[in-house]
Amino acid sequence: MLVGIIGDERDIHVYTLKNRLESLHCTVDVIYFPYADMMCTNDHMMVNGRDILDFDAFYVRAIPFFLQSQASHRMKKDVWNQLYTQYMDIATINNERIAVYTSLMNVMNDVCLVINPFPALFFQHLKPFQFYLLAKHGIPIPPYLATNDVATIETIDDAIYKPLTSNLHVEKKTVVELKKIMKERPVILQQHAKGKTIRASLLSDGLVGAAEIKHKAIDSRVGHCSYKEITLPAFVEEILLKCLQVLTMKYSEIDFIMNGDDIQILDVNPSAGFMMLEEDANIPTSLKIAEYIVRQIR
């Protein structure tokens, strides 16, 4: 069986999954699109010398962008000015290569198993649309508003600020801070759901495992946190599987809040990192993904 992993070989998730698949006798080709050799013709859709039709499955760790959204450090003005010519090249290269590799990813969807399918990957960057679909299908989520209208800042009780994409942290903001942000970009205001923070790892045919995340900041990614494996009631697993169906994902790490028998879904991640749960809560997600791929191919 030939499996492609779309991602960077240096990413721990990529090489862990590669090892798991190889232990199940799969041949694995890691495809890093920024540098991949791509060739599409009327008869063949090739990447790194292989026809996409020859693959049995793909796992998408990330859709890459050449231009990073955050520079790691502030540049000096003279360095910035020198980058002008390079920037124009990068912008062109970026658009062209994206056109080819997104075309290839759509062909992959047409011909074999892809985790996750191309349309589902966008939910990471389209949180308001994700919330809309979940709410429309009766899945419990905290009340929210996507807005750039300062008159709406106080319409959600006990609201926290959420980014619409995944790059910024979830936190409490004052009205003054929100007004400043909203001059440049919209925000999601969402009611602060209180209870146990839980992350569950799921494949479309069942739960892999779940862990409670103990953390101090509102955003569990900020500061120290610890993971403890827990068992979820059947009704929760049902709701989580419905999230996957609604968002057409085959695998996800779902964040939610549990308070007694009430649950509120926070985020359904289409290309989540699974190593935290794997290392800190001993949930064998990578092995389960590999087994799922082999099972589905057969």
Partner: protein, 316 residues
């Protein structure tokens, strides 16, 4: 004009209020006694205020979910990369803002695209959101045509250096992979691309010589077609001299409608080349074709047919 519930019809147009196509559509909609609202995001987020949840989309207090249909003239770019060519002076002015620029762009894009996808789920939207990506995924568009037996010209797309080594591309044409840059002969492109070729992806297509034909269609039928008269350049858009209205054969009409269906488009300008022997080769389907100039020259009522479609299918 009122809908079946007795409410006055209202159609939204996403695009710049200064755009010729937008202005023409607005005029045509109003001539039918229907309310037209242009939703112009040019000054977003500073001067365009919107908020939404799963039940409403409020733009300056107006709920878009109470409107009947929408036409998307411009969706903006999909990927968080500003596509405008910045001047050196503009670049220098961006110093200090860069770290925030792309983050803001991602958030702004997510907001607009989430809202439009939500609208697409609730209302008639022409063209549907998913069909817009084909403008930026030409190899995938060609793949679908080929797979479903539609006749297209040979193409090769991918990593530029590999292609140039493997294929004799000099007699082919270079097409932009995304957006509307000029189509030129591959050999001319290669001369100007120079050293940047190594990192680039390209699309070359066999040069099919013949007449450039544009067909406008809605999912329920052909609106009209014409031969595009143009100067000696490869790209028919560079020096437009006029149009000559023609009737295309039935099989070309069927191909146009089939191509649109494959790409999920409800309205399109479909480009063909008519060869000397009278046969046609399909070039591409455009999800947001320009029709202002075409309509003026050909007298084919593209905008009228488009808004009649929106009114009929949007709830009247």
């Amino acid at each position: 004009m009122y809908d079946r519930f007795g409410e006055r019809m209202e159609i939204g147009i996403f695009g710049l209020s200064t755009d010729d196509e937008v202005k023409l559509l607005k005029k045509r909609i109003e001539q039918k006694g229907v309310k037209a609202t242009v939703i112009d995001f040019h000054d977003f987020p500073a001067n365009v205020h919107m908020h939404f949840d799963e039940q409403k989309i409020l733009l300056e207090g107006k709920n878009l979910l109470h409107m009947h249909a929408f036409y998307i003239r411009q969706l903006g770019y999909f990927w968080p990369v500003p596509q405008i060519e910045l001047t050196k002076e503009q670049w220098e002015q961006y110093y200090g803002k860069y770290n925030n620029l792309l983050t803001n762009e991602r958030e702004n894009l997510s907001f607009k695209h989430s809202m439009i996808r939500m609208l697409d789920n609730e209302k008639l939207v022409v063209n549907p959101y998913d069909s817009f990506v084909f403008h930026r995924m030409k190899p995938y568009q060609f793949y679908l045509f080929q797979k479903h037996g539609l006749r297209i010209a040979s193409f090769v797309s991918g990593s530029a250096t590999s292609i140039v080594k493997k294929y004799p591309v000099s007699s082919m044409v270079y097409k932009p992979l995304a957006g509307g840059a000029e189509v030129v002969m591959a050999q001319d492109f290669l001369k100007t691309a120079g050293g940047s070729l190594e990192k680039r992806a390209v699309l070359f297509q066999e040069q099919v010589k013949g007449d450039d034909i544009r067909v406008y269609a809605l999912e329920n039928g052909i609106i009209g077609s014409a031969k595009l008269l143009h100067g000696p350049q490869v790209d028919s858009r560079v020096e437009q001299l006029g149009v000559e209205v023609i009737t295309v054969p039935l099989e070309v009409k069927e191909t146009a409608l089939k191509a649109m269906e494959l790409l999920g488009m409800k309205f399109s300008g479909i480009d063909f080349i008519r060869l000397q022997d009278g046969s046609y080769t399909l070039l591409e389907c455009n999800p947001s074709p320009m029709f202002f100039g075409f309509e003026k020259m050909s007298k084919i009522p593209v905008s009228k047919k488009l808004i009649e479609y929106l009114m009929k299918n949007g709830g009247s």
